[in-house]
Amino acid sequence: MFILREAFRGLSKNKLMALVTFGVMFFSLFIFGLFLISTVNLFLLIQKAEEKVGISAFLEDELSDNEIESLKRDISSLMGVQEVIFVSKSEAFEKFREDLGEDSDLLEALETNPLPASFDIKLYESFKDPKNLESISRKVDAMPGVEEIKYGEEWVKILDRVVKVLVGIDLILGVIISFSSIFVVANTIKLTVFARRKQIEIMELVGATHRFIISPFLVEGVIEGILAGGFASGLLFGIYNIFAARLGDFIQVTRELFIIVVVFGTLLGYIGSHISVKKFLRAPIGTELPKGK
């Protein structure tokens, strides 16, 4: 087809420009991909950390099974509570021994089990902020039979602050990277079109329709975008694979991520070309006298 032929002659005749466009796109998409991977893993990390957030309600020692049952029901019915797990005195001791690990020897010196029974209260995601934790904790604390409440106030506050900061930075970087990518790529393409503006002008004068002039540029842009996206995600995947074995599940990369990068590249190429070429088509009718560049 004529347009495809034109696109390929455009690419091969203007190797420098094709190369630069490809390079800029590749770089942008690589960074974009890195950013995506970081973001996804950041959120996975946050999720993991938040999974650990929960409330422990320590019980008085002399509660009957019935009282425990009804207490459990009461707690479960609170808003935001997902699950309530009972931990008996002996389970608590066992867990403590495990936690101590090598130091556990010294528990043998103990004669009674000083640890209380407790409820581990798991909350829904959206209730894991300091405020909700506090209000739920207070409600549980007020229930009869509950001796003490612990939910790692300080730790939750730190986590909450860190998450907010990280998500904030991530958002800002995301906006900057996305916009910079689009801006830089679009303008690079504009530059390559600019270098051919005389040719575009001549085509118009010889009676080529705008579609006829634009189409090869669009095809060029899309080809470059797909290639750049492909190479960028290829490289990212390569780097990931080198370290994948050693990373365990510390960093995760999914196939969708690469598809997103390629799609973003294609869009960049298409939109960038479209905007750019349009700029160099002659001033539409009615505007003063043209050519003043």
């Binding site: 004529f2 002008e201 118009e204 004068l205 010889v206 009676g207 705008h210 009718i285 050519k291």
Partner: protein, 232 residues
């Protein structure tokens, strides 16, 4: 075919490149536009292929009105017109053959037909031996002839020739004039801008003389030499 009514072209405020032009050009006419350097010949032709629009007045070409033509229609107007540009306007990254065939590709002519027509036209301007050369490999005169070939290959209704013989020798000039007359004989209106007054002076065709943006003569009679002198 072409009508121009009360048309002014003003590039800078208060400075008229063309002033109060009124012209009517019929199908199949052969017209010389002449006048001293910078008088407005090229500007007049640019009005006709709607590269610029009048500041005042109305230009009507092949049924399209300058006041109402849409962006989209301009390419179709231009396909009816062949233009030989004063500065050639060749595509620098295409060889001679591709430059000429481009004029047909934009109209979606079948490939075979393109090749046939292009080769014939290139032969008409005596450039068959240069068909693979790029513009920068051609002499000034050769580039001019490529521009001519590109305008002719589409067998247009209207041919606008802006100084088509400025860069060629007298012998080639004669040949090019013959070529234009031939295409005129087949029904195409030819409007040729030129400053070579001796070419025009005694020709039997209609002659339009422009000076300082105004038409000062529009006649089929012989022109007087003094027409170019400063003190007319």
């Amino acid at each position: 075919m072409i009508q121009i009514y009360d048309t002014d072209v003003v590039f800078h405020k208060e400075w008229y490149a063309l002033k109060n032009i009124n012209l009517k050009i019929e199908k199949g006419e052969f017209i010389f536009v002449t006048g001293p350097s910078g008088c407005g010949k090229t500007t007049l032709l640019r009005l006709m292929y709607m590269d610029i629009f009048p500041t005042k007045g109305e230009v009507i070409v092949a049924g399209y009105h300058s006041s109402s033509i849409k962006s989209k229609e301009i390419p179709f107007l231009r396909r009816k017109i062949g233009v030989i540009f004063q500065d050639f306007k060749l595509l620098q990254d295409r060889d001679l053959f591709d430059n000429v065939s481009f004029a047909l590709q934009v109209t979606a002519t079948p490939r075979k037909q393109i090749k046939e027509k292009v080769l014939k036209t290139i032969a008409d301007v005596h450039l068959s031996h240069k068909r693979d050369s790029f513009p920068y490999q051609l002499s000034g005169g050769e580039q001019q002839r490529v521009s001519i070939a590109r305008a002719l290959v589409r067998e247009p209704f209207i041919l606008l020739a802006d100084e088509p013989t400025g860069n060629v020798d007298p012998e080639s000039t004669k040949q090019i004039l013959e070529l234009l007359k031939d295409i005129n004989a087949s029904g195409t209106a030819v409007i040729m801008a030129t400053h070579e007054i001796h070419l025009v002076k005694k020709s039997p065709f209609r002659k339009i003389v422009v000076k300082m943006g105004e038409v000062i003569e529009d006649t089929k009679d012989n022109l007087k030499e003094e027409i170019f002198l400063d003190n007319l």
